[in-house]
Structure formats: structure tokens, C-alpha cells
């Protein structure tokens, strides 16, 4: 099939940026969306032009790098799918596909479709960790954990930090990301020592990075490639309220 790609081009963070259109012929339905860009880029390189910069790494749907906002949807039209797992059978001959970078003040564009997501790393540094004593490794499964809690923690831990929640939210809010990280630790015994500081510090850092606030529209949950649920945001709110009201300093 033949497609028209309308791709955001931006030389660097200070460039204003613009859309550039490309015609791509003979696209196979079995290609992934990133392979479409590989073909386009090979052609651009052969023509002596600047290839489109885009983030990618594992191409297995687990690393969270492939940030593309495709026709108004983070990671394209399929539910619970990263861009690398989106295949061209989602499109028809003659379609025009608009591809933009994640748009958020806290995710400045580096070049074309690549954005700087280190604001997420700084939120993790603020509290998304647990302290572990050095010495002999403790027995696995030594601490009994309720199955429901273990499952909920595991579901929250499925977050790959891709930033689709921020990209999809009309407020560029990072609440789904932060709530997943807070939840996975708050639900487990290992997360208890830093529990209160974690909720307070991660939310404070999230605000400092310039993410918007949550208005509970649910767009993040709808676009999350790992199906992280809004119940995590409610849990983060409870953690934050509990810590804010009970912690003395």
C-alpha cells in the first residue's frame, strides 16, 4: 500500500519545528510502524537528506522508548500496544498518517520525534526506590505477601515509563506514571520504610518538573500500553493524603 506520512521535524530544542510530508510506496501490512520509519530513513540517507530521529530500543514492546503520537493517539490506534508492536495492517492504502512527538513542557523535544524524558528519572530519584541491606542474600519468598496485593503490585510494576500517559493527558499530567511507581512499592512489605516520604517527595518532584495535574479524564489509562489502571491514581491520592496528614515533618 501507499501512504502519506506527515512527520514533525525539529532540528533541536530551540528550533520552532514544522511538519514535513513524505510519500512512502509499497508498504507491507506485515511491517511494524517503526520498520516503516526505517524504510523512510534509509531512503532519506540514500538521498543525502537528514533521517527522521525517533526513539526505539527493544522493539519487543517492553522498553518504552518508542514514543510516537500517531493520528492523535499515543502509540497509535491499538489498545495496550507500543509503537513498535503497532503493525501496518492497522492502516489502509492511501491513508495519511500524522506523527508527532510526545508534547509536554516536561518532555522537551531533542530532535524530530525524540523527547527528553529524564524528568521521569528525577521523579524516581525523589523516592521511587527501596533500601536494601547489604550482606547475604535473604531467602526468596521469606516474607508472606497476600496474593491480591502481590498481583496489584505486579500489575503496577508493569509500567515501562514510556510517558504515553503524559502524552495522552490533556494536562500533560504524570499521575499515572507516579501512581504506578508509588503503588508497586506501597503494596509490598519492602516498600514500607520509605512509604510516606516516597509519596510526598515524588509528588513534589512531579510538580517541580512542570507536569499538569490530574482531572480524572481517564485518557492515560486508555492509552497506557501496559494497561495501568486509574485505581493506582486513587491509591497515590490516598498515600499522599495519609502521608501529608500523619507525617510530622
Amino acid at each position: 500500500m501507499n501512504l502519506t506520512l506527515k512527520v514533525w521535524r525539529q532540528k533541536n530544542a530551540s528550533d520552532a519545528g514544522h511538519f514535513e510530508s513524505f510519500q512512502v510506496a509499497d508498504v507491507s501490512k506485515d511491517m511494524s510502524f517503526l520498520e516503516l520509519f526505517d524504510i523512510l530513513n534509509e531512503r532519506l540517507i540514500n538521498e543525502g537528506k537528514e533521517p527522521v530521529a525517533f526513539d526505539h530500543d527493544c522493539r519487543e514492546g517492553i522498553c518504552g522508548m518508542c514514543s510516537m503520537y500517531i493520528n492523535g493517539r499515543a502509540h497509535g490506534p491499538w489498545d495496550e500496544t507500543t509503537t513498535c508492536q503497532l503493525h501496518m495492517r492497522a492502516y489502509n492504502d492511501g491513508d495519511t498518517i500524522t506523527v508527532e512527538p510526545w508534547r509536554a513542557g516536561a518532555f522537551p523535544v531533542i530532535k524530530d520525534l525524540t523527547v527528553d524524558r529524564r524528568s521521569f528519572d528525577r521523579i524516581i530519584e525523589a523516592g521511587g526506590y527501596i533500601s536494601v541491606n547489604t550482606g547475604n542474600a535473604v531467602d526468596a519468598n521469606a516474607i508472606p505477601i497476600n496474593k491480591t496485593d502481590a498481583d496489584a503490585a505486579f500489575a503496577a510494576a508493569a509500567c515501562i515509563g514510556c510517558g504515553a500517559c503524559v502524552a495522552a493527558c490533556k494536562n500533560s499530567s504524570a499521575m499515572l506514571f507516579v501512581s504506578a511507581k508509588v503503588s508497586q512499592l506501597a503494596l509490598l512489605p519492602q516498600g514500607q520504610p520509605e512509604r510516606k516520604e516516597r509519596a510526598l517527595n515524588m509528588v513534589a518532584q512531579m510538580d517541580k518538573e512542570g507536569f499538569g495535574s490530574c482531572t480524572n479524564t481517564g485518557a492515560c489509562e486508555a492509552e497506557c500500553p501496559k494497561g495501568i489502571s486509574l485505581t493506582n491514581i486513587a491509591r497515590l491520592n490516598r498515600e499522599f493524603i495519609g502521608a501529608g496528614f500523619s507525617k510530622e515533618d
Binding site: 508534547r103 509528588v203 481517564g218 485518557a219 492509552e223 499522599f240 515533618d249
Partner: protein, 229 residues
């Protein structure tokens, strides 16, 4: 974290917006319960007795001024958050998802809140001002010695004009659309999200606050308008 820091975070501010929102939800129930007496065919005896009580009882006067502070606090904090949210995306998307990923109601809270605020200013200027400070408000005594300011008559006369009816119906559509998302959103902000209760929270938010209450309010001007024919 100090209280000043806590309530300056995004979640802290949202908690204040949610808490004031819950208070305003309780207010609309009381307000409708009283105002429904505008539809009684008793020449306003019940309504004017109620209106006089509400405007003279000390405790209610205190709550009424508190209510105005709460409305302003709710609006100012929500606007602050809205502007910060808009600023969080300096470059907008060329293609938007529309209703594919979120409901229209959930994205229009600021718009509906603004419509409601304008409506409230008109509403207070029209009736609250007349009741408290109006100079040529008629009186009624219902055969007794006590003279009531006849707010009932003021309301009945106002709603013989179609433009007033239209303003009030638009105001109540604003209230409906605001509360369809508002009530359950405030619950989520307070962390009230639980499989066993989400159904009832959604039902109360959408059907009770979002539809029944605004429809009840809107019914009053519509019925009064059609009574003249």
C-alpha cells in the same frame, strides 16, 4: 511536609477543589428542596416562609456567607490548576483524539464551571439581591400579622419572560455537565475508588447530581413560564 506546602501541591489543591465541590453538592440538594416550594399553589406562603427563615436565621446567614467564600475558593483554585495544566503543554498537538480516549464531560469542567459562575452572578443579582437589599419588593401577609417580602412573586414575574427561562435552563445544563464528571472525579481525588463502591459512586454522580438535581432546578422556571398560558 508543612500544611502550606501540602496544600500548594497539585494534589493538595485538588483536594481543596474536591472538598469545596462536595460542600457545593450538599448545598444544591438543600437549595432544591427549598425551592421546589415555588411550584406549590399556595400564593407563595410556604416559599416566602422558607425564604424569610433562610435570610434571617443567624446560623444560616453564617453558612450562606461561607458558601460564597467556598464558591470563590473552588473557582479560584480550579482556575489556577487549569492555567497550570494549559501551561504544561506549551506546543499543542496538530491532531487530537476527540472522545476516543476520554469523555467530553471530563474535558469541559473549566468551561462548564465558568458558565455556572456567570450564571451564579446573574442569579444572585436577580433574586438574592432583591431579597436582601431590593427596595421595591412587594410584601405578603397571608392573613396573619407577619409581613413577608414576597420573593415568590418576584420569581413568578421573572419567569414569565422567556429570556430568564433560557438563562436558567442553560445554567442548569452547565450544572448537569459539570456534576456528571465532578462528583465522581472528586471521589477519585479523595482516593475513593473501590470495585464494590464504584458503581454507586458513578450512579450518584451521573444520575442524582448530574441529571436529577439540575432537571429539578430547570423544571421550576419552565413550569412557572407555562403556567401563564
Amino acid at each position: 511536609m508543612k500544611w502550606s506546602q501540602f496544600f500548594n501541591t497539585s494534589i493538595g489543591k485538588k483536594l481543596l477543589v474536591g472538598a469545596t465541590g462536595f460542600f457545593l453538592c450538599s448545598f444544591v440538594i438543600v437549595h432544591l428542596a427549598g425551592n421546589i416550594s415555588l411550584l406549590y399553589n399556595d400564593e407563595g406562603h410556604a416559599f416566602n416562609t422558607y425564604a424569610t427563615f433562610m435570610s434571617h436565621n443567624g446560623l444560616i446567614q453564617f453558612i450562606a456567607w461561607g458558601l460564597k467564600v467556598v464558591i470563590l475558593l473552588h473557582a479560584i483554585l480550579a482556575l489556577q490548576l487549569t492555567f497550570k495544566n494549559l501551561a504544561a503543554r506549551p506546543v499543542k498537538y496538530a491532531v487530537k483524539p476527540g472522545n476516543k480516549t476520554s469523555s467530553w464531560f471530563s474535558r469541559q469542567m473549566a468551561m462548564m464551571g465558568s458558565i455556572l459562575f456567570i450564571f451564579l452572578v446573574v442569579h444572585l443579582a436577580q433574586f438574592w439581591w432583591a431579597m436582601h437589599y431590593g427596595v421595591d419588593v412587594p410584601t405578603a401577609s397571608y392573613g396573619g400579622t407577619e409581613e413577608y417580602r414576597d420573593l415568590y412573586l418576584v420569581v413568578q414575574q421573572a419567569f414569565t419572560h422567556e429570556y430568564n427561562v433560557i438563562i436558567y435552563v442553560i445554567g442548569m445544563i452547565g450544572l448537569s455537565f459539570h456534576l456528571i464528571h465532578g462528583f465522581k472525579s472528586a471521589c477519585q481525588t479523595f482516593g475513593l475508588n473501590h470495585k464494590k463502591y464504584n458503581g454507586i459512586i458513578n450512579f450518584i454522580g451521573v444520575w442524582f447530581f448530574g441529571i436529577l438535581i439540575p432537571a429539578g432546578f430547570a423544571l421550576i422556571p419552565v413550569v412557572i413560564f407555562f403556567k401563564q398560558y
